[in-house]
Symmetry: C2
Subunit: 364 residues, 2 copies
Amino acid sequence: MKDEPRRVEVALGERRYLIVIGRGLLDDRELLRDCVSADEVMAVSNETVGPLYLERLESAFAARRFASACLPDGEHEKRLESMLPVFDTMLVNGLSRDCQVIALGGGVIGDLAGFVAATYQRGVDFVQVPTTLLAMVDSSVGGKTGVNHPRGKNMIGAFHQPRAVIADLAVLDTLPDRELRAGMAEVIKYALLGDRDFLDWLEAHIDAAMARDPAAMAFIIERCCRNKAAIVAADERESGERALLNLGHTFGHAIEGARGYGDWLHGEAIAAGMCMAARMSARLGWISAAQRDRAITLVERAGLPIRAPDDIGPARFREFMARDKKNRNGELRLVLLRNLGDATVTADYDPRALEATLEAVGHE
Amino acid sequence: MKDEPRRVEVALGERRYLIVIGRGLLDDRELLRDCVSADEVMAVSNETVGPLYLERLESAFAARRFASACLPDGEHEKRLESMLPVFDTMLVNGLSRDCQVIALGGGVIGDLAGFVAATYQRGVDFVQVPTTLLAMVDSSVGGKTGVNHPRGKNMIGAFHQPRAVIADLAVLDTLPDRELRAGMAEVIKYALLGDRDFLDWLEAHIDAAMARDPAAMAFIIERCCRNKAAIVAADERESGERALLNLGHTFGHAIEGARGYGDWLHGEAIAAGMCMAARMSARLGWISAAQRDRAITLVERAGLPIRAPDDIGPARFREFMARDKKNRNGELRLVLLRNLGDATVTADYDPRALEATLEAVGHE
């Protein structure tokens, strides 16, 4: 017997869409055909995931014009030049403005294929089929698409909402442990930034989750999608509240940039970044030392790094942080914790707390 | 004594903006500062135009954070890779999401800088300062931005409306004759596709226009901008009427593609393309031979090519035309003339008229 898929709506008026969550969705041709309505389909994947799942899409869309491209795996492929072979495949196959792009993969593929869809012939529809925990709970929802620039992460991109997100929990069975942990960093993020009840639940169930207990995973993914859907619906273009989703990301992006993209996984960098945000918040007196440690302990229990590499000095951190998209008029805006489950975006903090946190990198 | 600038509004609701047309606008610091409101300004130009006018922008915005980049001149620079050094300059100069991009140049710079603005940090504002006749009457108005792909023109891009368009007629004084003629192709296009009175006026004043009579140029630019503004306001995303602006472009883009971008100027290719559209419309019996010849004669009086190069065969034409963004479900949609001053977008035509027109390329 199969459970009915869960559905989460992202309420964006004309651009509203459904996130469908369940086991075996990639084998459900009817669902796939419902979600991807175009007569012309372009699937974008990578060399790890493509060989596993691309065939299912191909057979579901056998009656349509179907083309696909597989990029090499990894964050360093998320750049402008990697889009060219994808455009090339689309043009060689004569795909028109009425085609739809399917992003089959993790965050890198989702962001890149979404940006391809945003810019092919000035914009075509796309559907996200996330294959990592991180993509299911975060990057496939919300319409942020784009690529990295050598000088900063996600610096080139567009807001382009998907038509649907199809999260097949069965694909998580083969997800490498390191990727599972990296995804858990974003899961913990939702708890810390605004969902205290979920934080309590996570502390009680983190071991089950790390053991891939199906019920725990299903609960986690739906909960995170609901959290993200609510935030995105309230602030699609990140003029306010949506920036909270960047908890740990200003520090984390600096770690990724300083190490070179792909050395640390995004989720690993965000994990260490959240711990830095917790330490800085404690230095400011906004949370207690006990609360700080509670946050860090949860990150550690998920098998994630709680410290940035000690070879990134304060100057290097500041160099990357200065390019953060949240900054306004040269002020460094950070997402910090006023409480566990209550984050805020602010440039109004004692700069000595930031300085001390950067100085202590690797040592606390 | 200076004439007051003329102002044309593009009515796009929240994204409405003004086109300001007049002599000496680039010396009007107050106007420039009004139109470009951001504290951080990025000017994008080319190596021909930049040395002439960039300094005026720099001094107008001396009190702000100002950066600039000059690309090599020419259509073959309009590609994805050319955007990278522009992004690089913006990041090195620490420009935030609140910056504004100024496109100072012709159609290539306008399209490319507009696409840079559409995608830098997922979108920043931009202002068009067109320096060619073609850019003033066409490419700087309407929000189509993008770059070419080796397999097709404008295949990668976004809709991104400018905040303002500043058309300084004085810059046309130094515009090379060939560029002036190329711009006149788009001017004639507006007359043929939907403005019969303007067609009559053009036939009476084409010699004055080609001699750069200031009053004639001012009239032409305002008239074309009003025509384009009305069409864009009615159909921003080109779901219908806006495709009329593509008169001559399906044939013209094929000429550009087959010759390699930059050999023929865009306006030259469009001129020959409009003559092909007129000949095909006459073959269909939609216009008379006399009307066809009237259209072709006007193109010829503007010093523009009335024939495509005879080394592009029908197969090559079809290859490029098959990739046109207007096509739907494999049907080749063309902009054809039902009358002088009355164009239509349709796939409902006798294919033999197209075949005969392609067969006769270079010979009629």
